[in-house]
Every structure is written in C-alpha cells, then in structure tokens.
Symmetry: C2
Subunit: 189 residues, 2 copies
C-alpha cells in the first residue's frame, strides 16, 4: 500500500524483509486476537482509509471497487478498550538504524493522540527498528516531550532505549504490549 506522502516507499521495503518473521502489523493482529479471545482487551486495527471513485455492481450481491485512492488517516490505526479504559496507538516499523523519522507519523495523528490523552485515554506509539528486531512502546507523554522540545525530524534510537519500553517477542501473546500499560483507574473491571 502507498500513501500520498511517500511513507509507503519505506513500508514496501520493510514488508519484503523475508528474513524476519512477521511484520509489526501481523504481530499486533495476532496479539489483539489473543487479547480478545482471552477477554483481556478489545482492540482492533482500523481499516485503511480510502476514497472510492468508481464501483461496478456486478450483481445485486457483488460490487467491485474499480477506482479508489488511499487517503491520509485522521486518526491512529489502533484503538479499543482495556480495563475499562480507552486505548489508542499508532504502530510503525522503520528500517533506519539510528533514528525513527517523524515523517512516519502524520500531523493529524499527533493532534489526535494529544486529544485522546487530554480526554483521559491512554495513548502511545509502538515503533519497531527492523534492523535490530527491537520493538519499543513509547508513551504519549514521552513522545510529546520529544516533539515539543526537539527540533529534530527523527527520534533517535537512544531516546527509545532511554524512555521507551522494549517489548519482547513471545509466543502467546506474540507482542504483549498491554503488560506495560499502567491503568490508573479507580473503577477496574
């Protein structure tokens, strides 16, 4: 897939990493499925936003989209509920070795994450450095501290090592990111 701003150039390179097991998206999909089946959390990836220009109605029950474009997402890709709390995050892979380019996250998505946290939700990033097979959870507050204080257009890997949480790969669940989410909640379910 390919977004208007060129993000997908990197995405395409990444998904061809045949030496690595699954992509971050695949890891998250199976993890979220595990969470749902185990009744731990209800979290889904949102469908890819597109604008449809032409649909062929082959029959009353079959429609084929013949012309559509990818559109820039207004929100992050993942959201749901965990321990009664609203959860919201964006997940990205990068093949860069020393830093994570901020061009991977749309301005809309940053605004969205800020709003979520302001409204009492839990917002964060999950970033994978594919060269090292390292996956970090970076809490919203740590992400915003960086972009509010730094002028750099990429977050150094060392920043993730210092402020992020390394999520180990497991079997079931594959990528147990919720383990590292603290729910400050008087009304636990």
């Amino acid at each position: 897939m390919k977004y208007p701003n060129g993000i997908q150039k990197e995405y395409k390179i990444l998904t061809s990493h045949a030496n690595r097991g699954m992509t971050l998206e695949e890891d998250l999909n199976v993890t979220n499925e595990y969470y749902r089946e185990s009744d731990i959390a209800i979290i889904y990836k949102k469908p890819t936003p597109i604008t449809i220009h032409k649909v062929d109605y082959v029959s009353r029950k079959d429609a084929i989209i013949k012309d559509a474009r990818f559109t820039i997402p207004s929100t992050t890709d993942y959201n749901g509920i965990y321990q009664g709390k609203y959860i919201d995050f964006e997940a990205k892979e990068t093949a860069h070795k020393t830093s994570f380019p901020l061009s991977n996250i749309h301005e809309h998505q940053i605004v969205h994450l800020r709003r979520i946290i302001k409204h009492g939700g839990i917002g964060f990033l999950i970033v994978r450095f594919t060269s090292y097979d390292e996956t970090y959870l970076l809490k919203g507050e740590d992400f915003f501290r960086f972009i509010d204080q730094e002028k750099r257009k990429s977050i150094p890997r060392t920043y993730f090592q210092k402020y992020g949480i390394a999520i180990p790969l497991g079997l079931r669940p594959r990528l147990d990111y919720l383990k590292f989410i603290e729910v400050k909640n008087e009304t636990k379910n």
Copy 2:
C-alpha cells in the same frame, strides 16, 4: 456502497431520499466534528473495510486501487472517548415503517458490542426511521434484552418508542446523542 449480504440495497434507496436533509451518517459526521472542535468528545467513524486485490502504482507518489471488494466489518462503525469513557456504537437507517430489520446489524457487530459493554465501555445503537425522520438511541442493554428474549427478526418501532431515546435534530450540534449518554464514572475529566 454495497456489502456482501445485500444490506446496501436498502442503503441505496435511503441515500436517494432527496426530500430529507442529510443522511444519518452525514448528521453523525458533522456532530462528531462539532464534538471534537468543542472538545466534548473524540469520536470517529471507522473507514469502510475493504480487501484490496490490485493496486496500480502510477508514480512513486500515486497509487490507484483497481480491484477491491467490500468486506463484512468485525466491529461497529463508530468509536471514541467521551468523559474518559470508551464509547462504541453502530448507526443505521431504515426505510421500513413498523420495524427495524435485525439483518442491518451483522452478527460480528453484536458480539463486539456485547464485549465492549462487558469490558466497561458504553455501547449503543442509533437507528433512524427515515419515513418519520425519527432517530432513536437504543442502549446496549435494551438492544440485548430484545435479541435475547425475542425470536423476531426485527425490532418494532414501538420498542424504540418505549425503551429508546428520541434524539431531536438541532443546528449545532446536529444530532446531540451524547446528551443522552449517562457516564457513571468516578473519574470525570
């Protein structure tokens, strides 16, 4: 747009109701925009889920989807956060005069709504009877009581009148459904 199970036959009829102002989806879009701008709630409609079979990469920055199909959604269409609480709902219009056919709601979506409520989220339906221009909010518990106790394949309009809440149309916000949502929450924001 057209889903595999024929739901869209009805949808197509509905969107051609030129005598009525906006569709329910349009009303909800402007309402959710108002909620976001006024910092009341962060609620979005999810993109329509599709499966992409063929993409033409016209240039490095432009991709055209040439073959794709609509897929059955796993979740409801709308979710977000309101007063620190996870909100989740499905919205449907019907041109039927006496009842709302349950075939409008996928089995997956019912399972999803049950899970959301079990996990402490707020789940409901918004149903519009276009013939009367009536829009009802039906809380998850009232929806499930019907489908658990009744064998009927449609919910009578009288059930909405008795257990639902009629949402009046306004100017700003257009369809103030959150007004009727009680947030039982010790940690109000």
